[in-house]
Structure formats: structure tokens, C-alpha cells
């Protein structure tokens, strides 16, 4: 057989856990090979072993049939292995070319020969249909483009085997589509790809074969043509998984949130929300669909008090809360699961228990006359951790040490527990695995059924369509359409999100 | 495994510590017996504590240390305990510790160099009544302390005469360290000396606020020279080294230009040498010498002979050879003129014909004749 990469019986231990146990991964030349597993299953560890960042305790790695020892990333590079990281490793103020040549600069008499490099970058970009401007600065280009720069970086270094680590997590539907095209081009040009993912749809769409790992153990490799998403999901999770979110019909009641003619400027002082109207009632979930950068972030920040708005009104249960401080908004009955849980949702260096009272620490019984009552805090935390199935060694463990899914569960537990009239959930399942997504969707629907209003923002159309009772499409800072998820299609939503005037859909 | 290794290392370290400690103790005991059994009375030892300037400040502290060294070699003492030694202070907080340390090491006489040590000498002299102390540049009224003052104004007066006789631009500068009575004596004397020769000469006075900042001295000198001064005198310790650097730099750039400096405390002429086109020049006219070295030796000697002038305040002036003016630089064209004038004023001061003002208030009422 013609394998470019063979990882045979790999075992990698960390103090206390076995991250990889006897995993075998064989990648054929010219195929897109998926590496599927839940968060924490050991995908990244395995790839870091291949990329030379970790040394395996057992097992053998062969590249093109030859046994190799990869002790650092430079060796991996020399062997033609390139990694497109999930978190881009780019220097923002540098140009595309400067980023690409970083670490392997071509010099001419001690000076960097940027011209030659630019030409080479251009050539590669053209060959693989990447359409990247070699002179653009990273800070000026979109996330999707930045990812292409990462791809270019590996190609520039002569990579034959590209590892993509969760490449679609940060992309819009359009960008995902383009990325898939790029992958196909790469294969056509003779490259091989390992795609790390937990998204079954993508695997079905582009991959040839898929290797599944669960809890550090290799479950097996199957041909994509011979399987289906349900089988893959059960292989990955180890039990039957339902895809359709089950929910009863919504019964919306009184209006909880009323936004009228809201205007907000973004960080650069440019208008981001331009006269937006939106109403959410008790007992319904309104999903916001839109391409990233159409004012979603500013809208949520304006509601939660993190950003001052220019004009308009935001009524919560009939009372004006526009330009309240975040604390007053919270106290008025708004819960917020933030988009970026590391940046906004948690103080990662605090114990997870203390994160559970991030908004309420100053209230009784957690604080008495300015003195914290840790007994009460941790009692509360323990209760939430149990109730929301947050898997953590203890409530004293730093939040940083928890997996993404468990961090998110902790945040949701905290927000839901405050019993807010309006729960804002921004990308609540980003980067999470099937099991955690299922759990979180259930919790959101539970809130709705308890008569709360829920505002869901997501870039995953599937999620928006599955969970929402109504979908509000945002485009250039305005709600351009409200559609019923049962009566719309992904195509229609996509068009609306791209700004095409809404015709007769929905109503 | 790891634990055992660590244990081994620990015990080795402890063992080493014990052995070394034992050696240390042994040494001490030997010295102790030598001191006790031997000639304790006749064995005179002397030490000094510098201020933050240190013994290589090319000025005040250095001068004192040279005095001690000279005294030591004259009397066959060795540097170290039981002979002569110094301790350098890194901050104001170290004065007391250093003085105390020397007292504890049984030095017979301990000098505190500089008025900054006054408070600590005072306190420790009260505590260590058996030890003799000397304080330079200030007065401590304790029976076991001798206070040493200088009539800096007299040397500075002569420096002023030399400066006034040298300047072509009729513009002279004075750089002080920190404002204090001592530096004020320098300033008042210097100004009086200039005034005595030519009251119309313009004098720039600037205090840098520090005794150990050569960069400040250089900047100040640069500013004065560029505004037209051609002679600058400093009473700023290490800060003054910046003056010499600036003067030499200017001289190098333009060898024809008249650029002069006057040193302080000791004969600083060595600092003024600059080589231009293979020829040596010296930018230092002379130095207002303060006989710290002389005073330290003098008191050490008296003390060794059993005549420690405890409780006294000794004032060293021109008459006592405590202050003086260093020889005049050969390159100064008016050398002979200066020497004559200096001789004349020296006699007047020694005879008591005039009293050189020691403060700016006195200067205001001062009239040369």
C-alpha cells in the first residue's frame, strides 16, 4: 500500500492520564483523511506527536514507508509535514509575505529579499487558487484569508502532508465552502491532508477515509463512502446520538426584549448597528443568523451594557435599559453566555468554583459586609457543577484546566442559575463536541419552556435552524428578515445573509 | 530514588557547611588570642567609613583613604583587621552598620568621612564609649569624638584668585554638589576670591544636587562653557569628573580655545591631561586642596601617641597647612601673575589681615580692602 504517513501503535502519556493509547493512523497519498473524535479524545495530542512537539512513549512513525524519529517541528517540516493551526500563529502588523517567510527568510547580502519571496508566495497562491495578496497586512484581512496564509506558510516550506486542526471552527459558511474547494485543489496537486474535526458534515463532504478515536483509544478507520453521519457519531461518542433537537412547539407570551431603532458604533467609530428593531417574547428562542461582522457583536454588547449605543431604545420587560452599566443590566434580569468564553466568560486563573459567582460575588450570601464567604460560594459552585455535569477534578481546579465543553457548561450553569428573564447565548456551542452540544441545546430549550426569552447568536446555520423558534437575519446592522425555521432552507438563509432583498419567504 | 539523591546532596551540603564553619571559627579564635595575649595596648588600628562616593571618587573619600594608607605604611600597619582599613557605604542606611562593624572589630580610631555620617557617628559614639571616632566636615560633641573642619573657603578663595587671573571672557562657573554648609564655604570663598581680583567678572553658580553623578557634571559644564565661561571650578566630588571630561572634550575639538577647570579636595591635575596631536595638554589650572589626607594622618598620629583630642573641634586652615592651593599649571600664560597674587593673598589670610567669608551671608558683607 502507498501510505505517506503511518503512525503505528502510538502511545503518549501525561502525568496521570494516557492521552493516546495504541492509536494507528495510516494516510494514503492524495487523500483527505479525517481524524474524528470528541474534544479531549486525543486528536491534538496525536497530531502534536506527528508534528514533533511531543515524543511518544511507544509506537512507530513512518513517512513514505521509512521509519523516522520526529523530535521537533523542524524535522517535521523537513519531512514535508505542515500544520495549519486552529489558533493562527501570525504577526498582525506584518504583511502576508513577511509572515510566511518568518523563520526561513531568504537573505541577500544580509538583507531580507522580500521581492523574491513575494513572487514565490504569489506563485504558490495562484497555483492552489488561494487568492491571497502577498502585501496585505494580516490585521487588515479576514479570518478566512488569515487561514489561507497559514496554508500558504506550510506550502511555502514545501509541505506534502498538511494537517488542518479544526479549520472550520472560525469560518463563516461561505468561507467553509471556499476552504473545501481549496482542499480539493490541494489534493489534485498531489498533496495529502489530515483533517482534524468533530464535524460530521464536513467529513461526509470532503473526506475519503476517517479514523475515529475515543477517549485516547483508536476505534478504527472507515471509508466515508461506506458510512453515514449517525454511525460516525456513535463511533465517536460511544452511544446513539440524536441529531434533531427535540422540542415542543413554542408558546410565546409577553414581550421581554424590545429593541427599537438602535444605533451603535463599532470600536473604530463606524456605524455597526443602523436602526435595528427586534422583539423577543417570553417562551421563545430567537436565533440571529448573519455573516460575521454584520453587527452581531455590537448588538449583543449594546444590550449587555458593554458598549455604549448612540440612540434608540432597549426595553426589558418594558423598562429602558439602554446604556446601563453591565452590572445594572445583569441585575435587571439578563443572562449572557458570551461569544468568547476565554476572553469574557471566565477568569481562567480563578478556580472554577469562584467563576461561578463572577456576577454575584458581592451579594449575600457570598459576601457579607465586604467579606467573602467561601463556604457559601463553593457550596453553590458544587451544586452547579453537579447539576450541569461540569467535569472537573474539583471545584477548586483553575478554570483553565477544564476542557472547552466543561468550561462552557460551567458558564451556562452560572447564567441559567441566575434565572434571567432574557438569556443571551452567543455561539454557545462553538468548538464543542456532539455530546456537549446536545446538552447545551437542551438547556436552552428548557429555559424557553420555563417561560424565558432566549436570544441565540450562532454562525452555524444548522444550530440556528435547529434550536430557534424564529430566525432574525442580520445584515449590515439591521434585521433584514424574520423567518420561520420550519419554512426556510439553508439556501434561502444564505442569500438573505448575503444581503439579497427578502421576497416572500416566511410570512 | 530521587528523594535519596536529594538527601545525599543535602547532607553533603550540611557537612561542608559544618567544616567550613569550623574553619571560620578556628581562624577567629587564633586572631582573638593573638590580640588578647599580645600587645593589645600598643597595637593601634584605624579605619574609616566612606560616604556613598567610595574610595575611588578621585576626591574627598579617596583623599582620606590615601591619608590612612600613608599613615599605615609609615607605622608598619597592614591593611585589614588590627591595622588600617575602610568600609564603603552603598546607601545612607549603611553608615551606621559600617561604623558599628568597625567598632565591633576593635579598631582604635574610626573616621566617618563626610557630614552625611554625622548623625550616625553621634549615635554610635554614645553607644561605643571606648572607641575613638573622628568626623570630617561636621561637629559631633561627644567626649570620644574629634570633629574636623576645614576652612575650605580659604583654598577656594585662592582658586578664585587664580580663576579671575586666568579668565579672558570675564566669565567663570562654579559647580556645586549638594547644597550644604561645606559646599557653601567653597562657593563663598571662591566668589570672594574672584571679587577680590575683579568685581566685574560674571559668575554662574549651579548645584547639581549630587556628588556621584558625573553625567550631570558634564552637562552642567557643557552649558556653562557654551554660554561663555572659560574657567569652571567644581566642589562636587565625583560629579566634578564630568567637568573635566567636558573640558578635555572641548579642548580636543578646538585646541586653541581657552578652556580651564579647577579641581577640588586633592590635586586633581592628573585628571586634566589630554593628548592632542601627540602633545599633552592639561586643562586644570590648579586645585583647591583640602587636606583630608593630612588631617586624617595628623589625628591618627596623635591618637596613636595617646593624645587623642577627644571632644575637640579642630579647624584646619591655610595657617595650619590644612588647606592649600595646588601648583599652577605650566600652560597657563598668566602663571607668574597668578603665583604672585596667590602668594600675596595667602600671606594676608595667614596674617589675619582678611577673613575669608564662609557663608553667602558673610560674602555679602565681604570687602577685599
Amino acid at each position: 500500500m502507498d501510505y505517506v504517513i503511518e503512525m503505528l501503535g502510538i502511545r503518549k502519556e501525561f502525568p496521570g492520564i494516557v492521552a493516546n493509547d495504541n492509536i494507528t493512523l495510516q494516510v494514503k497519498k492524495g487523500e483527505i483523511h479525517a481524524l474524528l473524535g470528541e474534544n479531549g479524545a486525543g486528536k491534538s495530542t496525536l497530531m502534536n506527536v506527528l508534528f514533533g512537539l511531543y515524543q511518544p512513549e511507544q509506537g512507530e512513525i513512518k513517512v513514505k514507508g521509512k521509519s523516522v524519529k520526529i523530535t521537533n517541528p523542524n524535522i517535521a517540516n523537513d519531512l514535508g509535514i505542515g500544520m495549519v493551526h486552529q489558533h493562527f500563529m501570525l504577526v498582525d502588523p506584518f504583511t502576508v509575505t513577511e509572515n510566511i517567510i518568518l523563520g526561513s527568510e531568504i537573505t541577500k547580502g544580509g538583507k531580507i529579499d522580500i521581492k523574491t519571496a513575494e513572487k514565490k508566495v504569489s506563485e504558490i497562491s495562484e497555483k492552489y487558487g488561494l487568492a491571497v495578496d502577498p502585501r496585505a497586512k494580516i490585521q487588515d484581512i479576514s479570518v478566512g484569508m488569515q487561514q489561507r496564509v497559514e496554508i500558504l506558510k506550510t506550502l511555502y516550506r514545501g509541505a506534502e502532508i498538511l494537517i488542518f486542526d479544526e479549520p472550520t471552527a472560525v469560518l463563516t459558511p461561505q468561507e467553509i465552502h471556499e476552504l473545501i474547494q481549496i482542499m480539493k485543489t490541494l489534493i489534485k496537486e498531489g498533496k495529502s491532508i489530515i483533517l482534524i474535526t468533530h464535524k460530521l458534515k464536513e467529513i461526509m463532504e470532503v473526506c475519503d477515509r476517517v479514523t475515529v478515536i475515543r477517549k485516547g483509544v483508536g476505534i478504527g478507520t472507515v471509508n466515508v463512502s461506506e458510512t453515514n453521519p449517525n454511525d460516525l457519531a456513535s463511533l465517536m461518542v460511544g452511544r446513539e446520538v440524536t441529531f434533531k433537537t427535540e422540542k415542543i412547539e413554542a408558546s410565546p407570551k409577553q414581550e421581554v426584549l424590545q429593541i427599537q431603532d438602535l444605533r451603535v458604533k463599532d470600536a473604530r467609530g463606524l456605524p455597526a448597528i443602523n436602526g435595528l428593531d427586534l422583539t423577543i417574547r417570553a417562551g421563545e428562542i430567537v436565533g440571529i443568523a448573519g455573516v460575521d461582522g454584520n453587527g452581531q457583536t455590537e448588538l449583543l454588547e449594546a444590550i449587555t451594557g458593554l458598549r455604549k449605543s448612540e440612540s434608540g431604545s432597549i426595553l426589558l420587560n418594558g423598562k429602558e435599559i439602554r446604556n446601563f452599566s453591565p452590572r445594572k443590566v445583569t441585575e435587571s434580569g439578563v443572562g449572557h453566555i458570551p461569544q468568547d468564553r476565554h476572553k469574557h466568560g471566565l477568569v481562567l486563573d480563578f478556580p472554577i468554583g469562584e467563576n461561578m459567582v463572577l456576577q454575584t460575588y458581592y451579594q449575600k450570601p457570598y459576601s457579607n459586609g465586604g467579606i467573602l464567604n467561601y463556604k457559601e460560594i463553593y457550596k453553590k459552585a458544587k451544586g452547579l457543577i453537579d447539576e450541569f455535569d461540569v467535569r472537573t477534578p474539583s471545584e477548586f481546579t483553575p478554570a483553565r484546566a477544564l476542557s472547552g465543553g466543561n468550561q462552557q457548561k460551567a458558564i451556562i450553569g452560572r447564567e441559567v442559575d441566575r434565572n434571567p428573564d432574557l438569556l443571551i447565548a452567543a455561539q454557545p456551542t462553538r468548538g464543542l463536541d456532539v455530546g456537549a452540544i446536545e446538552f447545551i441545546h437542551k438547556r436552552l430549550i428548557e429555559q424557553r419552556d420555563n417561560g424565558k426569552a432566549v436570544l441565540l447568536l450562532s454562525f452555524e446555520l444548522d444550530e440556528v435552524m435547529n434550536v430557534s423558534d424564529r430566525i432574525a437575519v442580520i445584515y449590515e446592522g439591521q434585521i433584514v428578515a424574520i423567518v420561520d425555521p420550519k419554512e426556510t432552507t439553508e439556501q434561502e438563509l444564505g442569500l438573505l445573509m448575503a444581503g439579497s432583498k427578502r421576497k416572500e419567504a416566511g410570512e | 530514588m530521587k528523594k535519596r539523591k536529594f538527601g545525599l546532596v543535602l547532607s553533603l551540603a550540611l557537612a561542608a557547611g559544618t567544616i567550613l564553619g569550623a574553619c571560620g571559627n578556628g581562624d577567629k579564635k587564633d586572631e582573638g588570642t593573638a590580640k588578647d595575649g599580645g600587645d593589645k595596648e600598643s597595637k593601634f588600628s584605624v579605619a574609616m567609613v566612606t560616604d556613598v562616593g567610595g574610595v575611588d571618587d578621585k576626591s574627598f573619600n579617596q583623599s582620606a583613604w590615601e591619608g590612612l594608607k600613608a599613615f599605615g605604611s609609615e607605622n608598619g600597619l597592614e591593611q585589614g583587621k588590627g591595622g588600617y582599613d575602610y568600609l564603603q557605604s552603598k546607601s545612607d542606611a549603611d553608615y551606621a552598620t559600617n561604623l558599628n562593624k568597625l567598632a565591633r572589630e576593635d579598631f582604635s580610631l574610626i573616621f566617618g568621612i563626610g557630614f552625611k555620617l554625622k548623625a550616625d557617628v553621634d549615635t554610635i559614639a554614645k553607644q561605643q564609649k571606648d572607641v575613638h571616632f573622628g568626623i570630617i566636615d561636621d561637629v559631633v560633641e561627644q567626649p570620644n569624638v574629634v570633629s574636623v573642619l576645614f576652612k575650605e573657603q580659604e583654598a577656594a578663595f585662592l582658586a578664585g584668585v587664580a580663576a579671575a587671573k586666568t579668565t579672558k571672557t570675564n566669565h567663570i562657573g562654579f559647580i556645586g554638589g549638594m547644597e550644604s554648609p561645606v559646599i557653601e564655604r567653597f562657593e563663598a570663598g571662591f566668589l570672594a576670591g574672584i571679587q577680590a581680583v575683579n568685581p566685574d567678572i560674571k559668575v554662574d553658580v549651579h548645584y547639581t544636587g549630587a556628588f556621584d553623578k558625573a553625567d550631570l557634571g558634564k552637562a552642567t559644564a557643557a552649558q556653562m562653557y557654551s554660554s561663555g565661561a572659560d574657567v569652571i571650578f567644581h566642589a562636587a566630588g565625583g560629579t566634578g569628573n564630568g567637568l573635566f571630561t567636558e573640558a578635555k572634550d572641548l579642548k580636543k575639538k578646538d585646541p586653541k580655545r581657552e578652556i580651564w577647570a579647577i579641581g577640588v579636595d586633592s590635586d586633581q591635575s592628573g585628571e586634566g591631561v589630554v593628548e592632542i596631536d601627540g602633545k599633552e595638554h592639561n586643562v586644570i589650572i590648579t586645585s583647591a586642596m583640602k587636606g583630608v589626607s593630612h588631617a586624617v594622618q595628623d589625628i591618627s598620629k596623635k591618637s596613636m601617641e595617646g593624645n587623642f583630642p577627644g571632644g575637640e573641634t579642630i579647624v584646619y586652615g591655610l595657617a595650619e597647612d590644612g588647606v592649600s592651593l595646588a601648583p599652577i599649571n605650566e600652560e597657563v600664560t598668566t602663571k607668574a601673575d597668578i603665583e604672585t597674587a596667590v602668594k600675596e593673598w595667602t600671606d594676608k589670610i595667614k596674617n589675619g589681615d582678611i577673613t575669608v567669608p564662609g557663608t553667602l551671608d558673610e560674602l555679602a558683607n565681604f570687602k577685599a580692602e
Partner: protein
Amino acid sequence: MSSRMKNIIVPILAVLLGIIVGTIIMLITGYDAGAAFIALWDGAFGDIYYTGETIRQVTPYILAGLAVGFAFKTGLFNIGVEGQLIVGWLAAVWVGVAFELPKFIHLPLAVLAAAAAGALWAFIPGLLKAKFRVHEVIVTIMMNYIALHVANYIIRTVLSEKSDRTADVFPSASLRSPFLEGLTDYSRLHWGIIVALICVFIMWFILEKTSRGYELKAVGFNQHASEYAGMSVKSNIILSMVISGAFAGLAGAMEGLGTFGYASIRGGFTGVGFDGIAVALLGGNTPIGIILAAVLFGSLKVGALNMPLEAGVPNELVDIIIALIVFFVAASYMIRIFIDRIGKKGAK
């Protein structure tokens, strides 16, 4: 190796490394390293007098370390401890010489004046940081110079008549203690060490026990999350600087009311404020760590004075050895990596 264990071992290794490299240098330059280190030890603890002096030196170090550490916990780098110390020193002495009151009023008043002055001096950079995002490092550095020269000016013109120092503070405002001096054979040990230890407790209490401390730490770790959670980042930044400055001001009171008993014109900085940065770093910004680090720095500082006389090591070399120890402490990151390597190999 657990991180707790590492936090203890790393500083110890740093000190050992400093000693080893120092030994090598002394051997190369022909000095007796054994004698030198014994002199260092003896100079710090060899005699009750030296022990007293060491504790005296440790006192302001603890407070300066607390000042740096406290600000650091809130994500601020207060490099202006030196200036806050100087104004604290001045304020304490000012109150100490201006009037005479019963001791139980006068002494606390002088100490509090120092804390208030330091707090005020730190409030300015805190305010500028919070309101205008001016970086606190730059402002505090400049405030150091302002403090130095303003203090010099006030001492010369207001607190004395053109003299280089103020009068001694009245005994009713002095931290000095004949009892402690007697106990330690006339060292300058004073009651300030009690103040410093109380402040250690205060820092611990604020940070670990109060909801305010919870906020301060949260802001330090993650400003975005704190803002999201409804905390005022701005007021916490200012408060953090103010508390930090108060500690620094108290360090000044230790010098003004304890060690010296007066304030004098300075040509340059005391260095205590800057050493406080190293103390806080070495102590990992934790209260107990800061005490231990202050003891180390204090004993190095006092013990080193003994090295020239006892072991004949020149001052310059002493400075180099002390600097080496500080260097290895500051470079403890290196040591951490090293331990990790060894740990990995050991695990294999």
C-alpha cells in the same frame, strides 16, 4: 513535580546557582570563596547586632515587595514604589517634626500620613491609566523623579533652613525602641517590623477574603471578563494603585521614623523601591513569599557589608555576587524549564 513544590524549589535553586557562579568567579579571581560566604552569613546573622540590622533592612523590603506585588496582582506594574516611598518618608518625618503629641496619637498619625502620601503619589498614575490609558510604567518612573526633587526641595526650604536634613522626629513619633536596640546590642531595629508584618496580613486579607480583593484579582487576571461581569475596571485599577502606594509610603515611614529618624536631601534613589520589584518577583507576589524574599534581600544587603573586611573581597566583587544571585532569581524561568526537562527525562 507539583507546581507548589516548584514554586518553592525554583527560588532556592536560583540562590544556590548564584552562590555557585559567585564561587567560581571568586576562585578565578583568587579570593577565598568559603571565607567570603561565611563573612556574608556572619554579617547578616553572625551576631545579634547583625541580626537586628538585617531585620531592620528587611522591614522596608517587605513593604516595598508588598507594594509591587499588590499592584501586580491586579495586572499593574508599579515601578514607582521608589517615589511613593520617598514621599511617604517625607510625610512621616514632616508630621514627626511639625508638632509634638502624645505617642499614641502622634506615631499612628505619622505612619498614616506616610501611607496617605504614598497612596496619593500612586493615585495619579492610577487615574491616568484608568482615564486615559497612559501606561503606568512611564508615569510612575517620572513620578519617581518628581518625588525625589520635590522632597529635596521641601527638606531644604520648608523643613530646614537650607540644611541638608530635617531635625530628628520627636520621640513621640519615632518607631525606634530602646528595648529592641538593647536586645540587639544597639542595632537600629525598630517596631516597624510589626507594621510590615501587619501589612502582610492586610494584603493577604484583602486579596483572599474580601469581595474587593476578588474584584481586584479578577481585573488583574482578565479585564474583559471582569467588565462583562459588571466590575468597574477603572476604579479597580485606581484602587489597586492606591493600596500599592500606601504600602510603599509605609516603607518610607519605616526609614523616616525608624532607621533614620529624619529625612535628608538625596542625590539619588534609595534603591529600596526597585529592590522591591525583585522581592515581589522572587516571592511570587504571595504574602509569605514576599516575607521570605525580603529576608533574603535584607540579609544579602547587610551581610555583604561584612565581606570586604572579613574576607578581603573587594566591594565590586561583592556587588557582582549579589547581582548574580538576583540575576538567577529573576531568571528563574530558565530554571523552571530546566526542572521540567529533568522531570520529563525522569519520567521516561
